[in-house]
Symmetry: C2
Subunit: 115 residues, 2 copies
DNA sequence: ATCATATATGAGCAACTGTTCATATGTTAC
DNA sequence: GTAACATATGAACAGTTGCTCATATATGAT
């Protein structure tokens, strides 16, 4: 990496913040969670699921998107344990995985609604 | 859009969730906030700024990244009003924009640390 | 004025992402 | 068994993103 800064301006701050840096896997995991919530389609899916457990077919109807597109996104969210699936015959019901996720999502929603 | 679902399985649920759908700009805004927090570099930047106001040069030192890369990301975050800038001479100091953002970020961090 | 430093930014490019399309898998009804 | 339905998934393709590199702008020191 090139030398871009000839002297660190605030040695004490840099040292202190360096010490408390997050572990690589923490950074990866938190970024993955936020990234998953950072897409309009997935926001709409999560907002729907906060209100009610829903099957793929119903979600596609609400979002007015293809079953395939919705299913792909549900897989993304499920892989990250943001939502969970319950199967009943041929119907798959999706739910927010836990209360923490619900809280996190609603905190973000609350933020944009109040500014 | 093709017909993928021959009968909506749960009319009542679909109708109820449809009614409470988010407005398009709410969806866009909340997705943008989460998306901005959904990148490892920006997570590290935010985690640093939660601890202390920092200048670009110091952030680059902590992250061990080029000044240019950091500056580009700071612009992204500032455009979304996630961080704010304070100028003092030729030095630009960055800060988390408000307490809501700090809370949102820490809620996400807390989530991945406790599972 | 010139030089050094701090930050900002446009272009370019490789990597990633979200949708579509086609198709596969699995379940229910007959 | 076959047909209808619900969901899942791989490939492909366009659009987006994050970094690098080069360069621009702006301030402070001399």
């Amino acid at each position: 990496m090139e030398r871009v800064c000839y002297n660190v301006n605030h040695h004490e701050t840099v040292a202190r913040v360096r010490e408390k840096q997050l572990a690589e896997d923490q950074v990866r995991d938190v970024a993955a969670i936020f990234q998953a919530m950072g897409d309009p389609t997935r926001v709409r899916i999560l907002h729907a699921l906060v209100q009610s457990e829903m099957c793929v077919c119903d979600l596609a109807a609400v979002l007015e998107m293809t079953q395939s597109a919705v299913s792909h996104q549900l897989r993304n969210l499920r892989n990250l344990r943001i939502i969970k699936r319950r199967k009943e015959g041929r119907v798959a019901y999706y739910n927010i995985d836990d209360e923490h996720i619900k809280t996190l999502f609603e905190t973000g929603l609350h933020h944009v609604s109040h500014r």
